[in-house]
């Protein structure tokens, strides 16, 4: 990367500037997609810390059951000698999952990076509907409020799991209502976001930016937006149904008047499995909502730092589309032993097996991208390779579970926990981290510290495997998830040391995030200034100033080629920005 390209903007007409805005309209009631993106980013990082603390508390209980829990214990449960009750443990994992899924991964991928990158990468000034965009962030706040309020209700929050299966969720405490409301707000927010993304991507591309010249990130965001737009209404509807079951005694999800505690709790006439179908009809696509954007971003990062075109650009896009399409018809594999029709399990098994195919193709294509490249192992690159490596593990354990007979043994055990943490933490979070390191210079005009970044990576990578890999063994053994204390079962008593090892790794992994925290906030001030294109990348956002002003580009970008023209043999420099006119 010795050679420099002449800055292309000199050849383009200047854009008329956007008006300078006051503080409130710049940072609080912002309609600028970049500020909204950063708002999402900071909120998500805050919730990431909260969710992480909850995870630490879960691990504490599993390693040292019922012992005096630090921080929570003495403060909240003084009369019990610091011992947490079973409901509190249920609250911990319910809120951990809810926060991590709905307040961290989805908002940080779609909300933060989707908002920040889509207009920049397609050469637009802003989103198609800036005000709708603003609302999509501000609708997160009622959701935040609901979640925080729910902590203050008896039981310290909702306790029926993030899956909220009736009839347990129907008889759960009042915190469940707030939980449902919170998710409905999140749903509305995502809905607004996804409409915005689809419109922006379809309507506001710069001249020359054909669909097949869009970077993988934009493609992934586009597919994700479609998934959200079509799957989320189902969840929102289901949540409203549950809410009305709870508050209006409608009875969608209870088969007969359920008698709990010897009094009629909720009227009947419904079907608990209906919820499961509706829930997983959203939540399985949600799994892809939580991974596809990361896949897109990782594709871009890999190609950039391998200095090589992305291998199989079109197959990558087709496999994204295939994953999204198949994603709608595989929800039943969460329900093999749920009591649904057992013949139906077979068709879901087949579709699940099929969805492994496009996922596999993506992995092979990433490997093909790396093959024969000229690898610069920067922090974002390491995180991206980590993403691929962890996604392979998560994907393979997915195939094991997709076989219904095997799923009998490992369903609802720690094998599942291991699987989805490999996908969601191992893959998605590593992808997010890579993206943060990669686009940080564009966002803040400064670079993050590479050494600390690498330290952050290696610690996270080692301890993440130390945490989640042994969970496979726990799961094979049948160690059930959501147990506050499985050691009262003779079967699982000898698994305590393994759990303590996992907890140790988890704590260290949590501590490793402090390195990131310091690096992130420290670099805001002390980081070296970054120029427009520090990574010598091709995509459009790198031709805008760092950080881009309101209105993004100081010229009207025109696109002449695809995004992955690295190391073109006919060029003296190893990259060829999309905006650079052909010679």
């Amino acid at each position: 990367m010795v050679n420099k390209v002449q800055h292309p903007e000199l050849n383009h007409p200047k854009r008329t500037g956007h008006p300078v805005l006051r503080f409130l309209s710049t940072y609080v009631f912002a309609t600028d997609h970049k500020i909204i993106g950063l708002q999402f980013l900071f909120s998500s990082l805050f919730w990431f810390a909260v969710g992480g603390m909850l995870a630490m508390a879960i691990r504490w209980q599993l390693a040292f059951p019922w012992s005096d829990m630090p921080i929570f214990g003495p403060t909240l449960f003084a009369s019990e000698g610091g011992q947490i009750p079973g409901t509190f443990y249920n609250m911990l994992f319910t809120m951990h999952a809810t926060i991590m899924i709905f307040f961290v991964i989805i908002p940080i991928l779609s909300g933060a990076f989707g908002n920040y990158l889509i207009p920049l990468m397609i050469g637009a000034e802003d989103m198609a509907f800036p005000r709708l965009n603003m609302f999509s962030y501000w609708f997160m706040w009622p959701a935040f409020a609901c979640m925080i309020l729910s902590f203050t209700l008896p039981g310290f929050g909702p306790t029926s799991g993030w899956t909220a299966y009736p009839t347990l969720s129907l008889i759960a405490g009042d915190a469940q209502n707030l939980w449902i409301l919170g998710l409905i707000f999140v749903g509305i927010s995502s809905m607004m976001g996804s409409i915005n993304y689809m419109t922006t991507i379809l309507q506001m591309r710069a001249p020359g930016m054909h669909m097949f010249r869009m970077p993988m990130t934009v493609w992934a965001m586009f597919i994700t937006a479609i998934l959200q737009a079509f799957a989320l209404p189902v969840l929102t509807a289901a949540l409203f149904m549950q809410l009305s079951d709870r508050l209006l005694a409608t009875g969608f999800f209870a088969p007969e008047s359920i008698v709990v505690n010897n009094s009629i709790t909720i009227s009947g006439g419904g079907e608990p499995l209906l919820w499961q179908h509706l829930f997983w009809f959203y939540s399985h696509p949600a799994v892809y909502i939580m991974i596809l954007p990361a896949m897109g971003m990782v594709s871009d990062i890999l190609s950039c730092f391998a200095r090589k075109p992305l291998f199989g650009y079109r197959p990558m896009i087709y496999s994204l589309i295939a994953i999204a399409g198949l994603g709608f018809v595989v929800w039943g594999h969460h329900m093999f032993v749920s009591g649904m029709n057992r013949i139906l399990a077979i068709s879901f098994m087949v579709s699940t097996m099929l969805i492994a195919l496009p996922s596999g193709i993506k992995v092979f294509n990433w490997l093909g991208t790396l093959w024969g490249g000229r690898l610069f192992l920067t922090t974002p690159m390491l995180f991206s390779i980590g993403f691929v490596s962890m996604f392979i593990i998560g994907g393979l354990s997915g195939i094991v579970m997709a076989a219904p007979p095997v799923d009998i043994q490992i369903h609802d055990t720690y094998f599942i926990v291991a699987h989805f943490h490999y996908v969601l933490f191992g893959a998605s979070v590593l992808g997010v981290m890579g993206a943060i390191y990669y686009w940080y210079p564009k966002m803040f005009g400064r670079k993050m510290n590479e050494t600390m970044g690498k330290l952050h990576f290696i610690l996270t990578f080692i301890f993440l495997n130390g945490t989640f890999f042994p969970m496979h063994f726990l799961g094979a053994r049948g160690f059930p998830r959501r147990y506050a204390d499985a050691y009262r079962f003779e079967e699982f008593q000898d698994l305590l040391p393994l759990n303590q090892f996992i907890t140790l790794c988890a704590f260290l992994m949590g501590a490793a995030q402090l390195v990131f925290l310091i690096n992130f906030f420290g670099s805001l001030i002390w980081g070296p200034k970054a120029d427009r294109n520090p990574w010598h990348a091709n995509t459009l956002e790198w031709s805008a100033p760092s950080p881009p002003p309101h209105g993004n580009f100081d010229f009207q970008p025109t696109v002449y080629r695809g995004p992955y023209e690295y190391s073109h043999p006919e060029r003296s420099v190893d990259y060829w920005p999309q905006t650079e006119p052909p010679p």
Partner: protein, 449 residues
Amino acid sequence: MEILRGIKTGKLKTVRHVLLQFICLLGLIVILIIMTGCNPSPEPQFRFNRVALLKQEKNDLAEGERFSNAYQSEIGDILTALYGTPNEPRFPFLLGEEDPAHDVLSLNNLQLAAGPVAADRLEKTAGLYREHCSHCHGITGDGAGGTAASLEPYPRDFRLGKFKFKSTPLRRMPTNDDLTRILKNGIPGTAMPSFRTLPDNEIAALVDYVKYLTIRGQHERRLIAELSNLDNAPILDFKLLADADEEGQPIDEEMKAENTETFEAQLYTVVGEYLAEDIIPRWVDPDDEISEVNNAPAGFQSKHPAHSALLQTGKDLFYGKANCVQCHGETGLGDGQTANYDDWTNDWLKTIGVDVNQPATYQDFMMAGALHPRPIRPRNLRTPIFRGGNLPSDVYRRIANGIEGTPMPSSPTLTTDEIWALVSYVKSLPFEDQGSPENELPVNDRIVD
């Protein structure tokens, strides 16, 4: 966002300032968390029976008057001296090795059951009660653990010294076997689960601990009931043992002897009369009190047509002499009498001035820790499982002895054969032919579970 503005405008000083503030704030929070979080938790304490105290106040004192707080702490001190704390239980074996209380419970068992949970150790040495029981029954055994309010029926408050399902008659304590059986079988139809999977020694320890909490609770109630006798004097006046009076003058021998006698009398009331004479003897050898279950008549529960006479007798009794229909209802659904309360509720609900229809009249009891009064429902006999056990002998005892603490009466006037006929009929009820003319089953047989 402040930070971002700083970066954009290049005002690095402000940014650093903000960041420094941010870091200081973070540090402060961390220090606070460490200070609160790393303090070891305070040791849990037995909760004082404030409901009983309030009841005593309402019954004995003029409106608005309260017993002196000193009473509460003194009773607490006496109980702690005698019974220890949840982490370190003690028991007053007054007569040393020969004390009859040794037949009731053993200190080793108490230690196994008391203390913080030790579930992470494979060989358990403590903490059984808090691991298995205190969620519902509370650390004090007051039936007001964390989940209690959401359970129906409420978990048992041991302190009243009443047990429902036992083989002994009313006002006699349950035998070890009775308590063990409850622990092993659970109480179907309630939240009380079965602890069959625990080893026998742990169950024995829990049984002893339940007795310990019961005796402690009974003793506490006794002491509280004693309060109004005291005219503001301490329950145990240790000043009586002093060698000098308040002004430092030595007390003469005669006076001292008298003082000592008074003190011993006080002590005798507190420990001897209440505990040794009153509470403990009821617990010693309850096996001698087990009420006999007489032989069943031949043909009990047989499907042989010749024996249907027994069922018919039972049915006649049910609707006639045995009064069952009055509470359990025409169809046996338990809907005959639905507005009674059990003794644990009546204990304070019957206080003068309390009206169950006007929550304002018992608000102070709620504040003191009483659970919201809920009517006790007669059993729905249309379900095949009975709380006190499904064996014919279990049902026999329920009918013959009644159920302590509930409106279910004993039936001293029924003969053995009559009771057996009733048992037979009651056990056949859930499976009764629906075409049977007199007792058609309503569609929803789960109204009262």
